[in-house]
């Protein structure tokens, strides 16, 4: 064997290493010209697409951004993290894809960021699938009309403003009126009634202490196993607040597209609009009304349109949305509230006055509506809700006369008293959603006049006693009733049974 000098060997090795690797390709590259307030302006990358992900190479690693302003000379890219590590002169590459998040059952029980990163201290999310954050809504032919109920467990809603699977029902009201409480009770009810509906709660700019309390409560109620929480706090960059509802919707769409049902809660879209306004102003987009950009309607319409009931051919899954909007001083005619009201299929209006009068949930029966209505109600609840709505609307008309007391005729007095009993009946404690039979039996008892001898202040006690007696002594009948397939009328078997028990209970509460 010939002697091979060590130096020749090492040179030969170096030459081999120095040989060009032609399998790699030239990639388009841009350069950051200026950065600040969460926006990086990039020169170059002329073939970047709208909303495409960019990778900025900084000294401390890759920072991702997405391109929102495609202008002639530069691109305005919103950073998905802190802008502290990004400097002018950093090179920028195209990732070659639009924003996507991990989706699938691996996310159930987890608290994640809008990018799918865990926030609950648990292991990394290893989802098999990814969903697009921005995606087109299902077309007309892919949909079916809303016909299945989404029971919230809140009597006032399920009886008078029923929500169906695939519907968008807005929860609107001033601060501290119980909007999130309605959403939480709806989520708890899905676990209690074992509906199999997956909950996705999107916290947009909410205090992290509030989110932590909510997660704790959901764990106590055994709901977390079928819930995904997408959380952004007030100190997170506006880009994450902007993306949160879209990312959450992508996670919900996974279940919808796989023949399951999911419930989206966006808490709240007012903060979402404010975050988008901040981003748009920093991107130098022209401000419109109230300094919001011109496409603030489209911001919410394209989000909410993704909630739908799919046709049987596409698996008959559904995505229901409960967006929340916070008003100022009860003004539902402001810009963002009117936008979202016109997009959704109804609204539940929470009034501060009712809240402080002790009527909780503080739902305004006059201003609330569900445009889907009876199609989304079980037969049982539908059969008793007509009397409830009528009784309450008559009471509203006469409410101002209630102060006259003995100067009124008997018919008016009895309508007022009936209304007061119904109002008292509709009060419901938090975290105690009611099943179909409980709601139907309670409304039936009051609207049929079976509790007319009971003072309004004792109606809740009488209701509790009635429900306890019915469940203890007639469990099978109540289990049958809760299926919701039969009308509850005074002539029906269930009606006669409830009448008998209610009369017996009423004797113990008469004033």
């Amino acid at each position: 064997m010939a002697d091979i000098a060590v130096t020749e060997l090492s040179k030969g090795l170096r030459d081999a290493i120095a040989k060009l690797d032609m399998s790699e390709k030239l990639e388009s590259v841009g350069i950051v010209t200026r950065v600040g307030d969460g926006v990086a302006w990039v020169h170059g990358l002329t073939d970047a697409g709208y909303s495409e992900v960019l990778e900025i190479e900084t000294k401390s690693g890759i920072v991702e951004a997405f391109a929102l302003n495609l202008m002639e000379d530069e691109i305005g890219a919103v950073l998905l993290g802190s802008d502290q590590g990004v400097s002018a002169g950093d090179s920028v590459k195209l990732k070659g894809e639009v924003l996507s998040v991990p989706v699938g059952p691996e996310l159930l029980g987890r608290v994640v960021s809008p990018l799918g990163e865990p926030l609950d201290g648990g292991p990394a999310i290893n989802a098999k699938a990814r969903g697009l954050v921005e995606r087109e809504a299902v077309g007309v032919l892919g949909r079916k009309h809303v016909h299945e109920p989404m029971m919230t467990g809140i009597m006032a809603i399920d009886a008078m403003f029923p929500i169906g699977r695939g519907q968008r029902e807005l929860i609107i009201g001033d601060r501290q009126t119980g909007k999130t409480a309605i959403a939480i009770d709806t989520m708890i009810n899905q676990a209690k009634q074992k509906t199999g509906v997956v909950n996705v709660y999107v916290a947009i700019g909410q205090k992290l202490s509030k989110v932590a309390r909510l997660v704790e409560r959901l764990r106590e109620e055994g709901v977390m196993d079928q819930t995904i929480v997408v959380a952004t706090g007030p100190s997170d960059p506006a880009s994450l607040l902007y993306l949160a509802p879209y990312a959450g919707t992508a996670m919900g769409e996974y279940f919808r597209d796989n023949a399951q049902h999911a419930l989206m809660i966006y808490d709240d879209l007012t903060k979402h609009a404010v975050a988008y306004r901040q981003m748009s102003l920093l991107l130098r987009r022209p401000p419109g009304r109230e300094a919001f950009p011109g496409d603030v309607f489209y911001l919410h319409s394209r989000l909410l349109e993704r909630s739908s009931k799919l046709s049987d051919e596409l698996g008959a899954g559904s995505l229901t949305a409960l967006p929340i909007i916070e008003t100022q001083a009860g003004d539902i005619s402001a810009y963002i509230p009117t936008n979202v009201i016109s997009i959704t299929d109804g609204q539940i209006f929470m009034e501060t006055d009712l809240f402080y009068q002790g009527i909780r949930p503080a739902i305004s029966a006059g201003l609330s509506v569900s445009r889907v209505g009876g199609d989304a109600q079980t037969k049982t609840v539908k059969s008793v809700s007509g009397h409830l709505k009528l009784g309450l609307s008559q009471f509203r008309e006469l409410a101002s006369f209630a102060q006259f007391g003995s100067d009124l005729d008997e018919a008016t007095k009895s309508q007022i008293e009936r209304g007061q009993r119904l109002t008292e009946l509709l009060k419901q404690a938090q975290y105690q959603p009611m099943s179909v039979w409980e709601q139907a039996a309670s409304i039936f008892a009051v609207s049929e006049g079976l509790f007319d001898e009971i003072p309004a202040s004792r109606i809740k006690d009488a209701q509790r006693a009635l429900l306890t007696r019915l469940w203890t002594d007639h469990k099978k009948d109540m289990q049958e009733l809760t299926k919701g397939a039969e009308k509850l009328e005074s002539g029906s078997d269930a009606g006669k049974l409830i009448e008998k028990v209610a009369k017996s209970v009423a004797k113990g509460f008469e004033g």
Binding site: K19, L20, L26, T46, D73
Partner: protein, 127 residues
Amino acid sequence: MQRKIPRRKIAEYAASRITAGDSVASVLDEVAAYLLESGRVREQTLVVRSIEDALARAGDVVANVTTAHPLDAEQRAEVKKLIGAPNVHLREVVNPDVLGGVRLETPGAKLDATLQRKILALRRAKQ
């Protein structure tokens, strides 16, 4: 108020003059005069990049090639083939710090296949 001419338009104008055969110096003098007159001197670096981009689109590419050792004729030809433009002018830089492989920078594009970068990527992946 005078409308600001986009950098891309300035670059396309300059590139078209250069590819038509005008003297580079005179074209750059015109561009410099415009930038001074419109108070846009700060944009000079970006204007140069835009002109290089425009020239590259027209087929005249100036590329920086960084390797650990000087390129031989075969390697030079491979680089020009990779870039794929009709006229390629290479600026060769020898930098032993890259250890091996090549870093190729053209206007608007980059290829970093150096060992230095691969080691850095491995380090980052480990973190």
